[in-house]
């Protein structure tokens, strides 16, 4: 195998009328990477994925997946890419086995290879015992693994998973991610969207989209390191934390404050603002509240990145 990236987007754009769903997005995903794609709903994640799967033509820019151009080689892309869409899209009125048979055939598998791949999917998804179960009767976690299994039947080098763990319980989520990591070690490139920060932590690299643009792209540790020191503090008041939330939020220099169990997670604009937080606490009789430095979470990074991107966009939008 050559060193060409599994996925490469070059100023990839898709406009719907005047709306720029995806706006000049560029990135590269090396082979075998678990690439996390984050952003709020409507940020352009699904549109990007649909273009990369050959389902939607780009308005401008280009992209290559597994070495094939998405605009001109859509048929090849479909043979070399697995896609698990946001909605559960297997046939719920077919059994597990019937679904595997159909999707295998749809991907052009037949004979011994099809049978071997079905056996692999049943084993991977732990569905041996449920072969003849109607898909609608499967619990959510098993359904998602079956969907993943069908997306991988044709052994694609690249697989796109659009919010694969929506509505799945934490234990099933964890097992799902074990499968993802296993795929990655075997050389499959996994492109995955999620809203869960726990899941984001398990990705090798993360891309954050906002309003159609790519606003951050790095490994989880480096994203957190980029946040700056002394900007996150944890406050433990004597009273329930909710009682002082409003006072802390309004203190000057506080960018964001959120309840975290019996503590407050506070993001500051400058390290010196910690003193303002103490004053605010004293102001509501919480002199004895514990205040200590904390490390930023990925969520802190994304909230701030998006806030910066918003103001940046506003500046851009103003007439020069």
């Amino acid at each position: 195998m050559n060193a060409a990236p599994a996925v490469e987007a070059r100023r990839l754009s898709r406009h719907f009328g005047a709306f720029r769903a995806v706006d000049a997005v560029s990135f590269q995903v090396p082979r075998g990477e678990v690439f996390g794609f984050l952003g709020s709903n409507g940020a352009g994640k699904t549109t990007t994925i649909r273009m990369l799967c050959g389902l939607l033509a780009p308005t401008s820019g280009s992209a290559a997946v597994a070495g094939f151009d998405v605009a001109t080689q859509a048929a090849e892309i479909k043979r070399h890419v697995g896609y698990m869409s946001q909605r559960f899209s297997l046939y719920t009125d077919l059994t597990v086995e019937e679904n595997l048979r159909f999707w295998g055939a749809a991907y052009g598998l037949h004979g011994a290879r099809a049978a071997a791949r079905r056996a692999w999917a049943l084993d991977m998804a732990d569905l041996e015992a449920h072969r003849r179960t109607l898909t609608r009767e499967l619990p959510g976690g098993l359904r998602q693994r079956l969907a993943l299994g069908t997306a991988l039947l044709h052994e694609p080098p690249v697989v796109f998973l659009d919010e694969p763990t929506g509505g799945v319980d934490p234990a099933a989520r964890r097992r799902f991610w074990d499968v993802i990591e296993q795929l990655s070690t075997q050389g499959t490139t996994v492109f995955v969207t999620t809203h869960s920060m726990d899941e984001a932590e398990r990705c090798h690299r993360l891309a954050l989209m906002h309003a159609g643009r790519l606003v951050a792209l790095d490994t989880p540790p480096r994203l957190k390191a980029s946040f700056g020191d002394g900007l996150v503090v944890e406050v433990r008041p004597q009273r329930p934390a909710a009682a002082v939330l409003a006072a802390v939020e309004q203190a000057p220099g506080v960018a964001d404050a959120a309840l975290f169990g019996d503590a407050l997670h506070v993001v500051l604009t400058t390290p010196e603002a910690a003193a303002r937080v103490r004053e605010a606490l004293a102001g509501c009789g919480e002199d004895g509240a514990e205040l200590r430095a904390a490390s930023p979470t990925l969520e802190d990074v994304f909230v701030r990145t998006i806030a910066t991107a918003r103001t940046g966009n506003k500046t851009l939008g103003q007439p020069a």
């Binding site: 389902l55 043979r79 896609y83 869409s85 899209s89 297997l90 009125d93 159909f102 991907y107």
Partner: protein, 365 residues
């Protein structure tokens, strides 16, 4: 290509097997509808309420009366010797027709002169009046060969829609078969594709190497088989219950029916390429098939008596061609030399809608 098409067809069959309601509706509905409408829909008039006014009082007059009752078309509701009874009877609707045997009827017959009978009809239902008058003429001619029925139909323009001597079910049932097949195939195929869009499986299908042709052919194949079975069942039922004969070739009948069904399936797929929800698809399928097939195919109203503009529209109603060929084959036993153009038109329609549907689906794929 063929393997993948069959895979799609197999999948569709398995889903149909589980969704037995849809399969049953597709197979059973034509039969049920044919039974219901086949018996209800008839231009044959029976149980006409008849009043008899016998001013002659002769044996010959009673014979005429008996002939009318025995014919099975009339129910005697009044019998008298006063012609003034007729008006209130007809006005109130208690009688729909009145037979008046004038005085001197028997003696005229005995003298070898034509005896005249008067037949008074409620003409508000012009179609029924026309039919009844024809019956009356036949009966009177049979009893009193020299007699003459003088019609005194209340003001109404008689509109003769069919030959009353022909049992109307034989004429109507083929139309009914065409109508039912058209509506069910279009609805079935439109829903089959839109269902995938609603469920979200369409997106996943699009992400596979399946091409539009494989997908559409695979999806319509099971419905074609079911619709063909339903068509065979309906035509068999039409033969067994309504005496619709098969005078022509079964092979031609099968071929023409197949072309017609393909057109219906194609139209359904075309609708599904526009509609995004099953509800919209269902309504579009219903509206685009039901009224045109009912009104513009020659099923009930002959095309030749429509205004020219409407006649032009009937050219895009495939049931029009199917009906002409179907009636030709089953009733008259004619061959393709008579309805070859109709068969060609059905083929063109099927090819056109399937082609457009495939192109539209391909574009979205």
């Amino acid at each position: 290509m063929i393997r993948r098409t069959l895979a799609v067809a197999m999948k569709e069959f398995m889903q149909l097997r589980r969704d037995w309601r849809t399969a049953l509706a597709l197979l059973g509905m034509p039969t049920v509808l044919l039974l219901i409408y086949g018996f209800a829909l008839s231009f044959d008039v029976r149980h006409v309420r008849l009043a008899v006014v016998d001013l002659d009082g002769s044996r010959a007059a009673r014979e005429v009366e008996r002939a009318f009752v025995r014919s099975g078309f009339f129910d005697l509701v009044h019998r008298g010797a006063d012609s003034r009874a007729i008006d209130p009877l007809l006005d109130s609707g208690r009688a729909q027709a009145a037979l008046v045997v004038p005085g001197g009827f028997a003696s005229a017959l005995a003298a070898g002169r034509p005896g005249s009978l008067q037949f008074v009809l409620d003409g508000s239902d012009s179609q029924m009046a026309t039919t009844v008058l024809a019956y009356a003429r036949q009966i009177a001619a049979a009893v009193a060969p020299a007699g003459e029925v003088a019609p005194a139909v209340a003001p109404a323009t008689p509109l003769v829609w069919f030959n009353p001597d022909l049992a109307s079910s034989r004429f109507l049932v083929p139309g009914l078969v065409a109508f039912i097949l058209m509506v069910t195939t279009v609805i079935a195929s439109a829903l089959a594709v839109v269902r995938e869009k609603e469920r979200g499986s369409w997106e996943s299908l699009r992400a596979t190497p399946l091409v539009a042709l494989e997908l559409l052919a695979g999806k319509t194949l099971p419905y074609l088989v079911l619709a063909a079975a339903a068509a065979a069942g309906s035509l068999a039922l039409a033969w067994a219950l309504f005496g619709v004969p098969l005078r022509g070739s079964l092979l031609w009948l099968a071929l023409v029916t197949l072309l017609f069904l393909l057109g219906g399936l194609g139209w359904g797929v075309f609708i599904s390429s526009i509609a995004d929800s099953q509800q919209v698809a269902f309504q579009a399928a219903l509206f685009s098939t039901m009224l045109p097939t009912l009104l513009l195919s020659g099923f009930i109203f002959p095309i030749s008596s429509m205004p020219a503009a409407i006649q032009a529209i009937t050219h895009i109603v495939p049931a029009r061609y199917y009906l002409a060929a179907l009636r030709g084959i089953v009733l008259k036993g004619t061959g393709p030399e008579v309805w070859g153009m109709e068969m060609l038109a059905l083929g063109v329609f099927a090819a056109a809608v399937l082609g457009v549907a495939a192109v539209r689906t391909m574009r979205s794929l």
